[in-house]
């Protein structure tokens, strides 16, 4: 077998020839990827990858905690009004988003929130959570909608009562954490444990390989026949993505995100007179968060997992920055951007093609330039993005068996 670097342009030409013969049409074979493009392609794998254990969460990877987290994720009683669960906005049938531009809150008012509901597939591969990265762990991220007055608006006491009052939840809690649900006086501990169980569940939400991954693997092993199965328009789009478009600089790595924050010229007025500060506010929030990785609720005694939080830099350029989203399954998570203002992938591509550089901070990113794509190139880029859709997803909510107390 040949390695990725060994698959030459001639090898890729052979892919084109295979396509020609099978389709029996006279087409000019696509040029092979340049070595640098090939290297860029290989950076986006392998996939899929399990989420590493989180040292700040003592039940990360724990099967009992995953079962508890799964039960809580779909339980509307987590909200005091019993009408809002995590799955209300992270809908399984919508790739764990809600299809709205901006999320709706809970309670009677169901207010329109400021931002788009982020998808949760592969969320555990991130290092900052939320559009502004205001949470530095998956469990502190899970706490936010539970406590936020415009979302579930729950309290620690409410969550502790739910865990204590439901025999199945109490049993799963005891199995996961090795103790009974704490009493009222220690309700905050129960709340954080619930969030850690939710995080343990979220870590399991890893989607399967996509057509792109099949191409990547084929290129890695030098399998021209398998590589030829990848659609031509998507291959041209991939060349744009990893080449001229420079998309892969920020949409980097196996999860197609460098996990950081950039200003891409999106308007960030929430409403007249009110600005979404983006990452600037997120840094402020995570630093002040008593549930951050440097705080007392982290299970990482070394606090090493909090190094990123410790070293965070904040500057004026953080205004208007939002997290680089993963592009895996992006076809399924419309609408797009932090406030859902772009309805389709075509609109997203058009944004980068016609980028208004006047919207970017003067002291901001100099990487972004209008791509000036032709209509055909735009269609190719969209075709490529559609090949990032996983061919398989794990079952989100398998019927849990009855809980049996271990060691009771």
């Amino acid at each position: 077998m040949r390695g990725a670097a060994g698959l030459t342009a001639a090898g890729f030409l052979a892919c084109g020839l295979v396509l020609m013969s099978s389709a029996a049409v006279a087409q000019t074979p696509l040029p092979g990827p340049a070595p640098e493009e090939l290297r860029n392609i290989q950076r986006h794998g392998p996939w899929s990858q399990p989420v590493p254990r989180d040292p700040s969460n003592r039940v990360s990877g724990n099967a009992e905690a995953i079962a508890l987290g799964r039960a809580l994720f779909f339980d509307p009683r987590l909200s005091p009004s019993a009408d809002l669960s995590c799955a209300t906005c992270h809908l399984p049938e919508r790739a764990l988003t809600d299809g709205r531009d901006r999320a709706r809150g809970g309670g009677a008012a169901k207010p329109r929130l400021d931002r788009n509901t982020p998808g949760l597939w592969n969320v555990g591969h991130g290092r900052w959570f939320g559009w502004d990265g205001g949470s530095d762990s998956l469990w502190s991220f899970a706490l936010r909608p539970i406590l936020h007055p415009d979302e579930m608006g729950a309290s620690a006491a409410h969550v502790a009562r739910l865990l204590r009052g439901d025999a199945n939840l109490a049993c799963r809690y005891a199995n996961a954490f090795g103790r009974a649900v704490p009493p009222e006086a220690a309700a905050e501990s129960a709340l954080v444990d619930a969030a850690k169980a939710l995080a343990a569940y979220l870590e399991t939400l890893v989607s399967g390989a996509s057509a792109f991954d099949e191409l990547r693997e084929a290129l890695a092993r030098g399998d021209a026949t398998a590589a030829a199965r990848y659609p031509d328009d998507a291959r041209r789009g991939l060349a744009l993505f990893a080449g001229k478009g420079q998309c892969s600089i920020c949409h980097f790595g196996p999860n197609f995100s460098n996990g950081e924050f950039h200003n891409i010229g999106m308007p960030h007025m929430v409403e007249p007179g009110r600005v979404d500060p983006g990452r600037h506010g997120g840094i402020r929030r995570v630093r002040a968060d008593k549930y951050n990785l440097l705080g007392a609720f982290s299970d990482d005694a070394t606090r090493a997992s909090g190094s990123r939080t410790l070293h965070l830099a904040q500057n004026h350029g953080n205004y208007g920055q939002f997290k680089v989203p993963s592009l895996r399954n992006v076809e399924l998570t419309a609408p797009y951007m932090h406030d859902g203002r772009l309805a389709t992938l075509r609109e997203v591509v058009r944004h980068y093609s016609e980028l208004n550089v006047d919207r970017l901070h003067q002291d901001g990113e100099a990487l972004l330039k209008p791509l000036r794509l032709s209509d055909a190139e735009s269609e190719d880029l969209v075709a490529f993005l559609r090949t990032l859709t996983s061919r398989s997803f794990p079952d989100l909510n398998p019927a849990p068996g009855p809980c049996e107390r271990r060691g009771a």
Binding site: R43, E260, S307, L312, A313, E365
Partner: protein, 137 residues
């Protein structure tokens, strides 16, 4: 002055630039050592891990070698992508580990491409700035 370096094999350490070998002997290059200098100060450092991974925190150990008769009173470390006009999203912390020796933690290159380290060496005679280029893969 700058020193070009990339992490890939075959593109390792380039030649020393501008340093007078006698004064900077302790800062001479060795395996895995990156180096930069001005006419008055040389600096050698190793990163941990040796090949910097995009999106992962790394640290470095630096040794500053001033010309004879000069002392080093401090070191600041930063990095950025000149072509993109941005720095790091993280602020490293530098601590002294001995005369002329420093450790910097909390650095991260969050994008692939051309980065540039900036070392500000404080001496009684003023600040000496050293740039060292690095290609993050």
């Amino acid at each position: 002055m700058t020193l070009k370096h990339c992490a890939r094999a075959g593109c390792a350490l380039a030649a020393l630039l501008g340093a007078s070998p006698g004064a900077y002997a302790a800062c001479d290059a060795g395996p895995g050592v990156l180096r930069g200098s001005t006419s008055r100060v040389a600096l050698a450092f190793r990163t941990d891990p040796p090949a910097i991974k995009v999106g992962e925190l790394f640290s470095l150990e630096a040794e500053v070698c001033p010309e004879a008769g000069t002392s080093v009173t401090g070191l600041r470390v930063d990095a950025g992508m000149p072509a993109h006009k941005h720095g790091m999203n993280y602020r490293p912390r530098v601590s002294s580990t001995g005369p002329g020796k420093y450790t910097a933690t909390g650095l991260m290159f969050h994008m692939p491409g051309q980065w540039q380290f900036t070392f500000d060496v404080e001496t009684p005679a003023g600040r000496e700035r050293i740039h060292v280029d690095y290609t993050a893969q």
